[in-house]
């Protein structure tokens, strides 16, 4: 009797075991992890996640999104969560890259490939803009205006720095100064001044006012910066001090050069179409990984896994570019692999 009972239990166990072993293989979908930047400064950080989610759903993948909260410790913890969640690949934007080596090590140990946007790490596929090239491109456009309007003799070239972004600030803001120097090489170094604008128009306002007050005689001022917000901070400060007509700025990232509220003293910007980076990452890295054909690791911004083209535009050109929500809508409706650069850049 006992033997029969054992045999029945065994018989009942076999299909259950067989099913349990077979089930994960049958149901295992590719799972993409996305760590968004999580800095409240910038609308595009949230949009990067929205686009990645939509594209992952189109591909029929599972999708897990976490926020780095603009905090290196949170970014590292997110990498550990991705490992626990069993994701097959990760995309991240980490604006506080000090934790990138640790994140890279955690994900490498779990054999999970990771794409990093805009800030390179030797262990991660680099997808993004060449920030230095973008900075120089914007600076050259502003340099042309300085030459045209002020004969390359401005009283000041003001940099709205965003030191918290580290090397990205050096590339972009420093690149813009370099671009201005390409067009107007004889501007004396003493004319270049900086203030900390933190890449936030509201935060930049007070230090910008103070800087303008400390240069009461300057009447021809060109403004560059890490992003549109930082540049706009100085323009707003100039408006408050009654000196708006003395400044002209050129930003980076295109955040404030479209829509109804474009300031007339923001002469242009450089679009990266940051919200649409997932197209590049999925087309050139994640898609092949999901197909079992992982590409060779390319971690160098000079030779990236996927290169995003900078798109410098004047305010007049930018007026014809849709705002971010509309761009995202059109991007998601376009054929797979289509980039925003291809869809919207007027200076291709």
């Amino acid at each position: 009797m006992r033997m029969i009972r054992k045999a029945l239990v065994l018989l009942a166990t076999v299909p259950v075991l067989t099913l349990s072993l077979a089930w994960p293989a049958a149901a295992a979908k590719f799972k993409l992890g996305m760590a968004v930047g999580g800095n409240t400064c910038c609308e595009w950080m949230k949009a990067q996640g929205d686009v990645a989610r939509a594209l992952a759903e189109k591909m029929g993948w599972d999708y897990v999104e976490l926020s780095n909260n603009n905090d290196p410790a949170a970014a590292l913890k997110n990498a550990q969560i991705f490992v626990q969640q069993g994701v097959n690949a990760v995309i991240q934007f980490n604006g506080q890259p000090s934790s990138n080596p640790a994140i890279s090590a955690v994900l490498k140990a779990a054999n999970i490939p990771v794409v990093t946007y805009d800030i390179a790490d030797p262990g991660m596929y680099f997808v993004g803009i060449d920030n230095l090239a973008a900075g120089i491109a914007g600076g050259e456009q502003l340099g042309k205006l300085i030459k045209e309007k002020w004969n390359c003799a401005p009283d000041l070239v003001i940099s709205s720095e965003g030191s918290g972004a580290g090397i990205v600030n050096t590339w972009r803001t420093g690149g813009m100064r370099t671009g201005v120097k390409h067009i107007c090489p004889d501007i004396p170094e003493s004319k270049y001044v900086s203030f900390e604008g933190s890449g936030d128009a509201a935060v930049a306002l007070q230090p910008a006012r103070d800087l303008l007050a400390a240069h009461p005689d300057a009447v021809k001022m060109a403004v560059v910066g890490i992003n549109d917000g930082g540049v706009l901070g100085l323009i707003n400060a100039a408006e408050q001090l009654g000196r708006a007509d003395q400044v002209m700025g050129w930003g980076q990232d295109g955040a404030f050069i479209t829509g109804k509220n474009v300031n007339p003293h923001l002469m242009g910007s450089v679009f990266y179409f940051l919200e649409g980076y997932a197209v590049y990452a999925i087309r050139d890295v994640i898609g092949p990984v999901a197909a079992g054909k992982a590409p060779a690791l390319k971690a160098d911004p000079g030779d990236p896994a996927s290169k995003v083209e900078p798109c410098p535009v004047s305010a007049a050109q930018a007026a014809k570019v849709p705002d971010m929500p509309e761009r995202v809508k059109q991007l998601l409706a376009a054929p797979p692999g289509t980039t925003e650069y291809a869809l919207f850049c007027p200076n291709k």
């Binding site: 409240t40 400064c41 910038c42 609308e43 949230k46 203030f195 900390e196 936030d200 128009a201 509201a202 935060v203 306002l205 007070q206 230090p207 006012r209 103070d210 800087l211 303008l212 007050a213 400390a214 009461p216 005689d217 917000g229 706009l232 901070g233 707003n236 408006e239 408050q240 001090l241 009654g242 955040a255 404030f256 109804k260 509220n261 474009v262 300031n263």
Partner: protein
């Protein structure tokens, strides 16, 4: 005359010695401010200019109104309201949405003030009904509020050339239009805190809540009214902020918090409650707003400014602690 009305109408007994000490503190603060202006003006003659005056006055405007709200919370014994950044952004967002809808400035202001008062009422309800520490409650509501705001919006901006936009960029009698309401409010609140029943009750509750209770003053009602009023001031500050700041995001108000607390403490408003002078508060806001501008004229960086502000805050807290131990105003 009832006992309570007699108490309420009786002027506070302040000895001439104490009055002299109060004046002494004002004189020291004015002296420090004048010294800073003179030293910077001596180093750079162009410091004494209309541009500098405008820069300092703009900085004073938002910080000053926020400091009024923080001041009445401190005087009434609520320590400090750490949720001002979330309240500022919430009310600012209301101001932006109302101005986008094309409403006149008066209604935009009313909407923002009501939003601020509603936020204050939320804080007050939790503090009063659950009998929780105001510092912990406002810290928590600030976290919750900012996170919730981040879910709702990433950037807000009053429309270019709308009435509120122009208000933030116009001048009256050579000073920013947004500076004058701050000045009027400081004077008005300073007077009302001394001359109204609510003002005296709030001060009494902050000074000694047991004695106040023994005098028949309702702690709950006084504290509730204090947080609602403080929220209203933050709501008004948000109009000045939204009019001047350009595009802002949920974290744009965070940097103001330290300046506001420093201004309140340096202005002699005790964090332990029961003591405060809004004339001194105006001086401390002016002094603290002059420091970053002066440092730029000395060629120092923003990082150095933060060090100076931190040191001044520590000095102010030490003075406040010393006063509390000595029992002097």
């Amino acid at each position: 005359m009832s006992l309570e009305s007699a108490i309420n109408s009786t002027p506070s007994a302040v000895s001439p010695k104490v009055r002299l000490r109060r004046w002494g503190a004002s004189v020291i603060l004015i002296g420090a401010w004048l010294l800073l202006i003179a030293a910077t003006g001596f180093y750079r003659h162009d410091f004494i200019s209309h541009q500098t005056l405008l820069a300092i006055a703009f900085t004073m405007s938002v910080v000053g109104v926020l400091a009024i709200g923080q001041g009445i919370v401190a005087i009434s014994g609520g320590f400090i309201d750490l949720s001002q950044p979330a309240c500022l952004i919430l009310s600012g967002l209301v101001a932006v949405r109302l101005s986008e809808a094309g409403l006149p400035l008066v209604l935009v202001v009313a909407g923002a003030v009501i939003a601020g008062m509603a936020w204050g009422a939320l804080n007050a309800a939790i503090i009063v009904l659950a009998k929780l520490n105001p510092v912990i409650v406002t810290l928590a509501t600030n976290f919750i509020g900012l996170a919730a705001l981040y879910l709702v919006f990433q950037l807000a901006q009053v429309p270019n050339n709308s009435p509120i936009y122009n208000f933030g960029r116009s001048s009256v009698l050579g000073l920013p239009a947004i500076w004058w309401p701050m000045l009027l409010l400081v004077i008005l609140v300073g007077l009302l805190m001394r001359s109204t029943r609510y003002g005296r009750r709030a001060t009494a509750v902050g000074g000694n809540r047991f004695a106040a209770q023994a005098r028949g003053i309702s702690l709950r009602r006084t504290r509730f009214a204090t947080f609602v009023a403080a929220g209203g001031f933050v709501g008004f500050a948000s109009v000045l902020f939204a009019s001047a700041a350009g595009p802002f995001n949920p974290s744009s108000g965070n940097t103001l918090q330290l300046n506001v607390i420093a201004a309140v403490i340096l202005g002699g408003i005790s964090l332990a409650g029961g003591r405060g002078n809004f004339w001194m508060l105006l001086l401390s806001v002016g002094f603290l707003s002059t420091i970053p501008t002066a440092l730029v004229f000395f060629g120092l960086s923003s990082d150095t400014q933060s060090i100076f502000q931190g040191v001044i805050l520590m000095i102010a807290v030490s003075i406040d602690g010393y006063r509390a131990r000595r029992g002097t105003p």
